[in-house]
């Protein structure tokens, strides 16, 4: 399942090793993921519950946290709670949400809490490695499904001047989201729109910011309505 369309165009951080903490309640999945990750990625810690995760993250201060959306412990908030509990580190530590769930409310909730992207657990080793580097570099990682959620939430009509900037996607951002939803990698998006990959990344980050900050009424309503998807 090529949930993450970054293959081949990632910018593996110039030999710099990335320190990662894995947070997932399934030990089998954690060990599988560890084996799948590129050797240049250094797994410095693992956690299985919300409390453990917050403690390990505070102690290790990793570059990237691979965070399962559904976690036991805490107040039942799962990944969202881990991010909230690590809010002080958000400027240095980036969170990439992992999930088997396609449910929009889970995904959108964890993104709005501060995660830099979302991929499904069936992702291949190369793709997840690429996604980790991308997130470590400050970019956002959108799977086709997340792009679909965004288009659903913000609507497919481009922004008017009158609209609050946060409540609508610009025409260009819409185009980028559409292509990602269609399964295009960032590189292919860039080629299709005759822009640079860097510009694509900028657009995606802008969309992520809107998704996180928008108080758009439709967005919350949509998330509530689309509980089942």
């Amino acid at each position: 399942m090529n949930s993450m369309q970054g293959t081949g165009n990632g910018t593996p951080g110039a030999g710099k090793s990335v320190r990662v903490v894995l947070v997932d309640d399934h030990a089998i999945f954690r060990s599988g993921l560890k084996a799948d990750l590129d050797p240049s990625i250094q797994v410095v810690g693992e956690a299985a519950t919300v409390e453990q995760a917050i403690a390990v993250i505070a102690q290790e201060r990793p570059d990237v946290v691979l965070l399962d959306v559904h976690l036991p412990g805490g107040l039942g908030g799962g990944g969202r709670e881990v991010i909230a509990g690590s809010a002080a580190l958000l400027s240095t530590t980036r969170f990439l949400a992992l999930s088997v769930s396609d449910a929009a409310e889970d995904v959108v909730a964890v993104i709005r809490a501060g995660a830099r992207g979302y991929v499904t657990k069936t992702i291949s080793g190369a793709d997840i490695t690429d996604a980790v580097y991308r997130v470590a570099g400050g970019d956002a990682v959108f799977s086709p499904r997340l792009a679909g959620f965004v288009l659903d939430a913000f609507g497919t009509a481009p922004a008017d001047i009158a609209d609050d900037e946060l409540d609508r996607l610009s025409a260009r951002e819409l185009e980028v989201m559409r292509l990602i939803a269609r399964g295009y990698s960032y590189k292919e998006v860039a080629k299709e729109l005759f822009i640079s990959i860097k510009t694509v990344e900028t657009h995606v980050s802008a969309v992520l910011r809107k998704l996180q900050l928008s108080s758009r009424h439709e967005l919350t309503k949509w998330a509530a309505e689309r509980r089942l998807l």
Binding site: N2, S3, A103, G148, R178, R182, G183, Y184, E188
Partner: protein, 468 residues
């Protein structure tokens, strides 16, 4: 009674006049229901035996629904019993109650013949519950009775009205309250809808008031007012004392009942989940173990199971399934099963499927088949519906192809995709590079009718971009 085990169980049935006792008894004994009813009525005149017997059965015999629920608690799945063994089944007690009721029924109904559960269907004119006015008819009979009594009085017959009216009030009040109890047992207690609980309480209170008033009048008829007053006071005091003593027990009993009911609901849910997991996931896991050598099969099985489980977990069963996204997803699942490559569907917006969408769905299927067959990897499908216009994008990462290199006699792409879309007023574009192929299908919003003037407009994009 020796053949009792072969009889259908004694339950109160839904084709009822009062509480379904007679019809249940009739089915149990294999007698015509009208015979049973007649016997019951006749027995009622023999010193009220019939009434007492009826009331006893009413209390002791469960309704068909209750009985079915009790049986239904045992799930069909072979693994489920381990999960759903309810603590402290009360089946044994219930079983003896059945036997007792059965014995009594056998005695009352006379020697039952061993006809199988022939549901002696009564002639239509006798099926009271089918008449919509059964209650009104009963009311009418009661009014006629009153009229008869009044007439008799007018004619000089001495009717002991002083006793008759309170007695009628007591009986009426009691039956109203009892019917309410039965009603509650059937609906309110079971699924707790509580929709008409207010009405239920009103009925209960009305019944109680009638009974109390009746008893009061009956008692006061025999003595002086003052005496009655004292007696009333005494009885209220006694009642208060009894309530005081019994209230904790009653509350505890009620709480236990609530807890037991909640537990039972949980058990049922667990049993259902267990049964589903058994039927789907465990079977698939067994299959995967047997096919472990064949990676392709394993992936296919896992995908299919994932899809099934996902739809079971997340899909809203109440949702209308006639949406375009559902159809596209179904087609994707079919292609996935057929060829084994994953087909990911992302959909934005949705619309109800119209007749015209059939072409779009078929073309999408063909494109997915091609993408899966020639692309050889995951196929990405994106459906967007906005303002009624539907677009489907099917993308693979295969080696790509040149449409003009496809032989004329190969109809897959040319006919099933492009030709089909054009014929139905849609458009189809195929972009193929060495990095993969994308098929873009567009279908306009449903229009009142296919108007020719619009045609050029709609065909144009396809002819313009029809070739890569």
């Amino acid at each position: 009674m020796t053949s009792a085990p072969e009889r259908p169980p004694l339950v109160r049935r839904s084709d009822r006049i009062i509480a379904g006792v007679c019809s249940g008894l009739a089915v149990h004994l294999g007698l015509p229901v009208n015979t049973v009813r007649l016997v019951m009525v006749l027995a009622s005149f023999a010193g009220g035996i019939g009434v007492v017997f009826y009331a006893w059965l009413w209390i002791m015999v469960p309704t068909a629904y209750e009985s079915a629920r009790r049986q239904g608690r045992r799930p069909a799945s072979p693994i489920a019993p381990a999960v759903s063994r309810a603590p402290g089944r009360s089946d044994d007690g219930r079983g003896t109650a059945h036997a007792g009721a059965g014995a009594a029924a056998g005695g009352a109904g006379g020697p039952g013949d061993d006809r199988p559960a022939a549901e002696a269907a009564p002639p239509p004119w006798l099926r009271l519950q089918d008449m919509r006015y059964a209650k009104e008819i009963l009311l009418g009979v009661a009014l006629l009775l009153v009229a008869g009594i009044l007439t008799a009085q007018l004619l000089g017959v001495d009717v002991p009205l002083g006793t008759l009216i309170p007695a009628a009030a007591v009986l009426g009040g009691a039956s109203i309250a009892w019917m309410q109890l039965d009603e509650t047992r059937r609906a309110g207690l079971v699924d707790k809808t509580k929709a008409n609980q207010a009405g239920g309480w009103a009925r209960l209170v009305a019944g109680l008031a009638l009974v109390v008033a009746g008893v009061l009048v009956m008692v006061s008829g025999s003595g002086s007012w003052e005496q009655t007053w004292l007696a009333l006071l005494a009885s209220v005091a006694v009642l208060g004392g009894v309530v005081l003593v019994l209230l904790p027990w009653g509350l505890k009993f009620w709480r236990d009942l609530e807890a037991e009911r909640a537990g039972r609901i949980r058990e049922t849910e667990r049993a259902e989940i267990a049964a589903h997991l058994h039927d789907s996931v465990l079977q698939t896991l067994a299959l995967i173990q047997r096919r472990a050598a064949n990676e392709h099969d394993v992936v296919r099985l896992a995908r299919a199971q994932e899809r099934e489980l996902r739809s079971w977990l997340f899909d809203d069963p109440g949702k209308d399934a006639g949406q375009l996204s559902d159809r596209i997803k179904a087609v994707a699942a079919e292609v996935e099963d057929l060829l084994g490559n994953a087909v990911d569907v992302v959909s934005v917006g949705d619309t109800a499927v119209t007749e015209g969408h059939a072409a779009l769905i078929h073309a999408s299927r063909e494109a997915m088949l091609n993408a899966s067959r020639h692309g050889g990897g995951t196929v990405s499908v994106y459906l967007e519906v906005s303002g009624g216009r539907a677009e489907v994008f099917i993308k693979d990462r295969g080696p790509g192809f040149e449409l003009r290199n496809v032989p004329e006699d190969r109809l897959g792409v040319r006919e099933s995709i492009i030709g089909r879309m054009n014929r139905h007023g849609g458009s189809a574009t195929i972009i193929s590079t060495s990095d993969g192929t994308e098929v873009r299908l567009g279908f306009p919003a449903a229009q009142p009718e296919k108007v020719p003037p619009v045609q050029p407009d709609r065909v144009q994009p396809a002819t313009r971009e029809g070739r890569p």
